[in-house]
């Protein structure tokens, strides 16, 4: 045993043994649940981040090509006009909370504000369609970015949670379960000890009783032998009364058996 210190301070009774056994069972169930939770958290989020990143790569590529198209069609740099003609954001983000395995995660949801066409007229003379399409592709790109950002934030928070969960898993696995097991072993051994003591005591009592019995027996026998001897001497004195004394003897023997 790893030492008497590594167990809970309980009295080694049957009741506390029952409590400890329930506790061990609970700890084991909790351990397996928590372990599954931490695996679920890690697996789902990393796969989604991976997907989102790949998607972002694809979308960004398309988007930057559409920007090249704009440069080609407009034949110049329209960045400044676009910057200046935008007044309010068209692409907006709503934050909300999501519950994943009991963890509250912030989730960002992108939406496009209606009727917000600040630079609809850019490229009116030439390249307007390219500008609009470029905007659409970039809106999609930003959408992918928002999704990724949402996942990344979730990941940071989940990371914290996963750490806590893992810590709990480890605590249960390496501290609580062994300690409970120790306690159970301790209680068991104490109870066994008590059992043995009890048995020994009973044995002692039995032995004592036997000895006492033997003593009384011996005394009885001695008494009986005395009486026999007295009776013999009486018999030797009067032969005529032989039959009657014999009856008496038998009666006496009966008495003996009863005792």
């Amino acid at each position: 045993m790893s030492g008497a210190a590594d167990r809970e301070a309980v009295f080694p009774t049957r009741q506390s043994l029952g409590i400890m056994k329930a506790k061990l069972k609970g700890a084991e169930t909790g351990h397996s649940l928590l372990k599954r939770k931490s695996e679920a958290l890690t697996k789902s989020i990393t796969r989604r981040i991976d997907e989102a990143k790949r998607k972002m790569g694809r979308v960004m590529q398309i988007a930057s090509l559409s920007l090249a198209e704009v440069t080609y069609a407009v034949g110049g740099n329209i960045g400044y006009q676009i910057q200046e003609s935008t007044k309010s954001a068209r692409f907006r983000i709503r934050a909300k909370q999501e519950n994943v395995s009991g963890v509250l995660l912030p989730a960002f949801e992108a939406y496009q504000a209606e009727g917000n066409d600040d630079f609809a007229m850019t490229g009116l003379g030439k390249g307007g369609q390219q500008v609009q399409r470029c905007r659409e592709t970039y809106a999609r790109a930003v959408e992918a970015l928002v999704e990724l950002a949402s996942l990344q934030t979730a990941f940071v928070i989940l990371d914290e949670v996963i750490k806590v969960v893992n810590r709990r898993v480890n605590a249960i696995e390496h501290v609580i379960i062994p300690r409970t097991e120790n306690t159970i072993k301790y209680i068991n051994s104490e109870l066994d000890e008590l059992d043995r003591e009890e048995f020994y005591r009973l044995k002692k009592v039995a032995a004592k009783k036997q000895r006492d019995n033997a003593e009384t027996d011996a005394q009885m026998k001695a008494k009986k032998a005395e009486q026999q001897r007295l009776a013999d001497s009486e018999n030797a004195e009067g032969e005529q009364t032989e039959n009657t004394p014999a009856d008496i003897l038998a009666a006496e023997e009966d008495e003996d058996v009863i005792f």
Binding site: Q61, L65, A68, T71, G75, Y80, A120, M121, G128, R133
Partner: protein, 364 residues
């Protein structure tokens, strides 16, 4: 008849510009460029044509830097030609720059409206549209001062005066301002080449009329297509159509009433070239409408592409004529297309999207 005296003043310029035309990239060059694996390879391929200008670029330059350097070459050649031009050719070349000037002024107006420091904008301006007094415009801090400066300092004053008031600058969308100016400019240019004694009745007038009419039609069609779904009303839209061109007046009238792509197609039915463009774009564009530069499918050419193609063909044909100023215009346009092509190819290489690299337009 015009050939008799043309060379006295303009023979040198014509020779120079024809020389420049010969140094334009050919389809062989383009084929070589599309085979490049990196921007550095591309730079190497451009070496013979652009050597001096690309020399200062660092290894692995950005595409925008590449475009800036190639534009630099155009600008310096243009300035050289302009410096040697005299008389009506000089005036003609000034007209050529007004289009870029409009863009620059529009940029400055945007900056002033949003109360930015317009001095920072000067370097964003197109160098061909640079005029000496442009920095003066930056002194203006509000739109009224700017308006007055533009009226005094720039050759664009007539374009402003005839259709835009001070309030308009403040209230109208900058794109409408720009397109109004451009419309006035095109009309003025058209008037200029057809009435100036040196040009009227010469090949210059003929070729330039064709080029400008095409430009006017293209703008009208583009404005119509791009205005669908915006707050630009039909009446306002009509004001932006230049009052000449092959579509004018019936076509533009129909354009002004068009509600969708079909309406535009009907409006341009009368002109065989545009009709074929629209038929091709209608087939290739699919449900997303016209003007897709491969947005729907990579095979179909977009309307925009076909317009560029057509412009390049007209420009190329301009060189078959002699004794005309139009070759300067045609050369600038061809050169701009070349810069766009280089930028496009460079983008495709930089982004590793080779499947659409052949979207450039090569005419030689």
């Amino acid at each position: 008849m015009e050939g008799l005296l043309f060379n006295v003043n303009n023979g040198y310029i014509e020779g120079i510009v024809r020389g420049y035309r010969n140094s334009l990239l050919t389809s062989t060059n383009y084929t070589n460029m599309t085979q490049c694996e990196s921007i550095d390879d591309l730079k190497l391929q451009l070496g013979p044509a652009y050597g001096d200008f690309l020399a200062s670029l660092p290894p692995k330059p950005s595409t925008s830097a590449l475009a800036a350097k190639t534009t630099d070459k155009l600008v310096s050649e243009f300035r050289y030609v302009r410096a040697n031009a005299a008389g009506s050719l000089a005036k003609f070349m000034d007209y050529l720059t007004y289009g870029y000037m409009i863009d620059n002024v529009a940029l400055l107006i945007t900056g002033t409206l949003h109360e930015r420091d317009t001095r920072e904008l000067l370097e964003r301006c197109h160098p061909l549209g640079w005029f000496e007094t442009m920095p003066v415009l930056c002194v203006a801090t509000n739109i009224e001062e700017l308006y007055n400066s533009v009226m005094i300092e720039t050759p664009l004053a007539p374009y402003f005066k005839s259709s835009l008031s001070l309030q308009d600058l403040d209230e109208l969308n900058i794109e409408i301002v720009r397109n109004t100016l451009y419309k006035n400019y095109l009309e003025d240019f058209y008037h200029f080449v057809n009435t100036h004694p040196d040009m009227a009745g010469t090949p210059t007038a003929e070729v330039m009329s064709e080029l400008l009419e095409f430009e006017a039609d293209r703008r009208a069609i583009n404005i119509t297509l791009n205005s669908f779904g915006t707050e630009l009303s039909k009446a306002d839209r009509k004001k932006l159509y230049p009052n000449f061109g092959q579509l004018y007046p019936e076509g533009t009238l129909m354009l002004s009433r068009a509600d969708d792509f079909e309406g535009v197609r009907l409006a341009v039915e009368g002109v065989a070239d545009y009709k074929s463009f629209f038929d091709a774009a209608g087939l290739g564009g699919g449900p997303s409408g016209p003007g897709n530069m491969g947005g729907g499918g990579t095979e179909g050419k977009s309307l925009e592409d076909m317009f560029y193609q057509k412009e390049m063909e007209i420009s190329k044909m301009a060189f078959t004529r002699q004794f005309t100023y139009a070759i300067v215009y045609a050369w600038v346009k061809l050169r701009e297309q070349e810069i766009r092509n280089i930028t496009w190819i460079a983008e495709c290489i930089a982004q590793n999207q080779k499947e659409r690299i052949n979207n450039y337009i090569s005419v030689f």
